[in-house]
Structures are given as C-alpha cells and as structure tokens.
C-alpha cells in the first residue's frame, strides 16, 4: 500500500487500513515508502485527476506488483463526474482517494470508508466484479450511502469465488 497523496497528515490512516485489508484477504499487506508522485494527471478543465492515468503510471512504475495507491486528490474517469477509486479488473494496480470519502465528524468514519474502498478496489484486481449483496465490500458504491452501508470484508459468495479463482490459478 502506497500513499501518493499531497496532505501528509492523512498518511497515518494507512496503517489501520492495511490491517483491514489483511483481515479481508488473509494475505500480508506491506507499506511502500516511495517519494515519487504521478504528474500530468490533472485535467485543468475539470480540476480533477484522471484515475486511469494514475493507474497506468502505477502499473508502469512497479509492474507485476499488486499495488493499492491511496491519494487525496479528486478522481474522475472521462464519462463520470467522479469516482471513489478505480482498479484494473484482474490486473495489478488499484487506486482510492479520500477526497470524496471525507466525513464532517472526525477521522474514524474516513478510516472505515477508506478500508471498505481499499478492499473493494483490490477485490477487482483479484478478478471480482460487483456483488449484489449490499453489505459486501464488493457491492457497487456510487454514493457515500452505498459506502456506509457495506462492510470492509467479502461476503461468503465473493470469498468462495475468490477461492475458486485461486484454485484455478487465475488470481
């Protein structure tokens, strides 16, 4: 997990998020301390950063590593007004932003939301698609309401799908 944001005070959020991700997937999660940051990802007309560009930068910089980058800039994909995060489906790079997850009442909720979106985007890199169970981390989240009603872990169906994929060697 790698902090690529601009506000250093958000970086401590990553430790509890790492623990949640580790809990969700049962795999070790390592922190990366790398000072490099993506450039030229800002679209001046939208004052937002292209999540696709950042993902491409990540994949190029550390190919073959399953990587979750966390940022605090506002993200977009060209057809949508914003995204909470994005990942390469069945690929290696995933990205989430705190920009739209920011609550009014303290860091606890932000931590919880960030953990859920981190598990969600990493789930995509492991080949999982959106889950119809609203409580599962893989449930689609188009709004904060969607984020808040789900958990930071996978439902039984998604866990068995993941196990099947791993047994088939397609993770």
């Amino acid at each position: 997990m790698w902090w690529i944001g601009t506000a250093p005070e958000h970086e401590p959020l990553l430790d509890p998020v790492c623990r949640q991700v580790n809990h969700a997937f049962g795999r070790p999660v390592l922190r990366i301390d790398d000072p490099r940051r993506p450039s030229d990802t800002l679209d001046p007309r939208r004052s937002q950063h292209s999540s696709g560009e950042i993902l491409r930068w990540l994949a190029k910089l550390r190919p073959g590593q399953r990587l979750l980058a966390v940022t605090d800039v506002d993200l977009f994909v060209p057809v949508l007004t914003f995204v909470f995060g994005e990942a390469q489906l069945g690929g290696h790079a995933a990205l989430v932003s705190t920009a739209r997850l920011m609550p009014d009442d303290g860091p606890a909720l932000l931590r919880a939301r960030l953990a859920k979106e981190a598990v969600h985007e990493l789930g995509h890199t492991l080949g999982l698609t959106h889950c119809p169970d609203h409580g599962c981390a893989m449930a689609r989240s188009a709004t904060l309401y969607d984020v808040d009603r789900k958990n930071a872990w996978l439902c039984t169906d998604c866990r068995s799908l993941l196990e099947d994929r791993e047994r088939g060697g397609t993770s």
């Binding site: 696709g52 060209p78 057809v79 949508l80 007004t81 698609t129 959106h130 188009a142 709004t143």
Partner: protein
C-alpha cells in the same frame, strides 16, 4: 440471468470513453464490447447473441451517427434498449432520440449513480420482459386445441365443440376456405378421440379420377380390372380402428357419392371386383372448401349423403376474420419454422408486422406459413424485416393463391376495402377514386360490412 450473459455494446468515437465505460461496466460483471463508430456498430447488430443494451454516442464522424445506430437497433435488435449519450445536453436532440425509440438520454459526464441506476433498471425490465415471454408461452397453451392455436372467439367456440365431438364417434364435417387448417383440425380430432391409437388416413378426393378414387378408397381384388395383378387394400381398410379423413368431399362424382352413402349407412364396404363385405370400423371426418348446401340445391351433391356427413358441422373461419390471431400465429409459426429450418429467429419487426396485418390472406394460414418460411430463409438477422416478406402488392383483382377465383362481388368488396384503407377511411376521397357518389359508396360499405370514417 447471470450478469455475464447480459451483453452491452458501447459505441463512441473517443477511445477513452469506450475504455472507461468498458472498465466501469465490466466491474459490474456485464459482458461489454465496444465499437469505435456508427458503421462498425451497425455491423454488429443482429449477431447470433442478442445485445441487451447499447450505449451510443450521439455525435460520431463518418456519416453514421448515434441516431442512425438507434434506428438500426430498433429494426435489428428490438429487444435491446438504446441509451444515447452526448457531450452537449440539447433538448432538441434528446427529443429526436426519444421519438426514435431511445430508452433514455444522458449527458456526459454522468454521475456514477445515474449510470448504475439506469443500467440496473434496464436489466431488471428486460428480465421482467423475458419472464413475461415465458409466461405468455405457458398461457398460449390455453389457446390451443392440439396444433391449432387461436384466441379468437369463433375459434375458441370451435375448440369447445371439437373436444366433446372428438370423444364421440360421430361423423364430422369441416367447412372452411383452403388453407384454414381443415386437415390440422381433423388430425386434432383424431388425436383427441378414443381412436387416437389407430391410424389417421387422409385422402384428397379432388386429386383423383372417379375410378382411381374408387379403388383408392375401397381397394380392389386381383383381376378386378386390367392391371389389378394383386389384391390391394384401400384407404377404408387402412383406416380400420382409426380415422379416415376425406378431404374435398364436395368434389366426388355422383357414383362415388352413392358408394360413400352406402358405407355410411351400412358401416360396411366391399373391395372393387370383390364380394366380401368388410366392416368399416372407423370414424369419418370429411372436409370441403365448397358450399355443400348450394351444391345440394343445384343437384350436384346428394342430399342424403349431405345429411349423413353433416352430423357435427364445424366451420373454420378464414384468417381475415380472425386477424386478432395474427401475432399469435406469427410467433408460433416462427418458432416452429425456425426449428425446422435451423434458423434462430426471434420475431418480426414492427414494420413487417404492419405489413402482415395489412394483407387480407386469401390463402389463409397456409399462405402466412409460406410467407414466413420464405422470410426466414432470406432473413439476415434474428428479426424478420418487411423486406424479407415477399407479400404481393395489395391488388383487389387478384385471385386467391390456391387458385380459386373470387366472385365479382368479392373483388368489389376487396377493392372498396382497399381504397378505403388507402385514404384512411375518408369516404369523400374514396368515392372520388372509385368514381361513384358518396351515397352509393355508403350503401356498399353497409352491404360489405366495411368500416369508414364517421
């Protein structure tokens, strides 16, 4: 339906838009493909697997824009919902797209929630439609009497009569124009009768000369006539224990009418040239497209035979009198013919259905079957188009396809109906075209039971 079976086609000239929609919708688990322009999108319509949703950019270079793709999809993928996307929200184009049958219209960039809800709604609606189609299939069985299918009151009444009639052993007389399904009804009666396990033997009485028909029906003994080198069983013997269907009974000669009367009265017959009297253990179903009562009145058909045959009369209405059945028949015939011809056809386009509804089907269901069969053979996609249907232009003077020639009154009725239809029921215009005055036309409309604009 599993999400990966739901096929979405994204059509946009901007690669980045195609890629981001592909990525976004793939994460929902859908099967997503993309096309970079209108022409390549059109080429992908009507593929073996149907598309559920088309997300189409309105403005694309290369001559084929989003509206053209929308029009193509309406014809060749009527089951697909088309959502039009544009970078510039303009009410005019939105209205045009909706008028052309777009499901919805969204301006780029969209809220993630907007896109997700829209796609969810479309998928749910399609699942419901699919379920409805399955239910319709179940309900369709309610409209059936074996292979005959109808929801018209006249046919329903006929089915109601046919069920108990089939169970009785009585002789049945089926009346109806050519192509209305007389043999199908006879077979259905046989299948519903206690003789269902016995044979069903059909003879067309119009196809053979008097002497040939006689030996065909009753069989002959060796030496009965020149060439009768062995004894041969006739249709009466072949149908023992089952049903003998005598089609075109109105066409049999006076001598054979006499012979048939004897069999019906005595329930026994003898082979040509023979003396042995054989019991006729069978049920007779006779049919004709002729007006038997008229033939009796003209002395061309024996009255006593008519009474013997006319125990339970059943009249099959011509297709033009049960046009409410057309869509049901089209659906059922397409399913049947599609399997027979090995072509997966899902249905007919709205334009093709209009064309089928406008035709007056002188050849009845048989003509409809032939038209659809030809259509299925020449069709390019899964949906039959109006251009696939080789329907003759509506010609009031044309005879029926089966060769029977219409009466002068029938030609007049058809022509008046055709002209009225052409001018959308405007009596003044129709009268001008027909070269008669309005009161004469009103009298004809009344006489022929036609409808005009009031």
């Amino acid at each position: 339906m599993k999400r990966d079976k739901i096929r979405i086609l994204v059509v946009d000239d901007e690669e980045i838009i195609r890629e981001s929609l592909l990525a976004y919708l793939s994460r929902d688990g859908y099967h997503v493909e993309t096309a970079p322009d209108g022409a390549s999108a059109l080429a992908r319509l009507g593929e073996a697997m149907p598309w559920s949703l088309l997300l189409v950019d309105l403005k694309m270079p290369g001559g084929v824009d989003g509206l053209a793709v929308l029009e193509g999809a309406r014809k060749r993928e009527p089951g697909a919902s088309v959502v039009v996307m544009t970078a510039y929200a303009s009410v005019d184009t939105a209205v045009t797209a909706m008028k052309l049958g777009a499901y919805d219209y969204i301006a780029k960039p969209f809220e993630p929630e907007e896109l997700s809800l829209l796609v969810d709604r479309i998928v749910e609606e399609q699942a419901l439609r699919h379920e409805n189609a399955l239910l319709r299939k179940v309900v369709r069985k309610e409209y059936r009497f074996r292979d005959l299918e109808s929801r018209s009151p006249a046919m329903q009444a006929l089915f109601e009569l046919a069920r108990p009639a089939a169970r009785s052993g009585s002789t049945i007389l089926i009346l109806g124009e050519s192509g209305t399904g007389k043999e199908l009804l006879a077979r259905a009666i046989h299948a519903e009768s206690p003789r269902a396990k016995g044979p069903f033997v059909a003879v067309s009485c119009a196809a053979l000369t008097e002497t040939l028909l006689e030996s065909e029906l009753f069989g002959y003994e060796k030496g009965a006539f020149t060439g009768a080198t062995t004894r041969r069983r006739g249709k009466f013997e072949a149908a023992q224990g089952g049903t003998l269907f005598l089609d075109e009974i109105g066409d049999v000669s006076a001598k054979l009418q006499m012979d048939l009367l004897r069999v019906l009265e005595e329930r026994r017959f003898t082979r040509v040239g023979g003396t042995e009297s054989i019991e006729a253990d069978l049920r007779i179903v006779a049919a004709t497209h002729r007006d038997l009562e008229k033939l009796v009145a003209q002395g061309q058909f024996r009255q006593d035979l008519y009474y013997r045959l006319n125990v339970i009369p059943m009249r099959l209405p011509p297709l033009r009198e049960r046009m409410e059945d057309l869509s049901l028949l089209v659906e059922s015939l397409i399913e049947h013919l599609g399997t027979e011809l090995g072509r997966g056809i899902d249905g007919v386009s709205a334009e093709a259905m209009q064309m089928l509804l406008a035709h007056d089907w002188p050849g009845n269901v048989r003509e409809l079957r032939n038209v659809l069969e030809r259509g299925i053979v020449v069709a390019h996609g899964r949906i039959l188009q109006d251009s696939d249907l080789a329907l003759p232009p509506r010609d009031a003077g044309a005879g029926a396809l089966d060769g029977t020639l219409p009466s002068l009154e029938e030609v007049e009725r058809r022509h008046v109906a055709h002209v009225l239809d052409h001018v959308h029921g405007n009596v003044s215009q129709a009268a001008r075209i027909l070269g008669i005055d309005r009161s004469t036309l009103y009298a004809k409309i009344h006489r022929f039971g036609l409808r005009a604009e009031s």
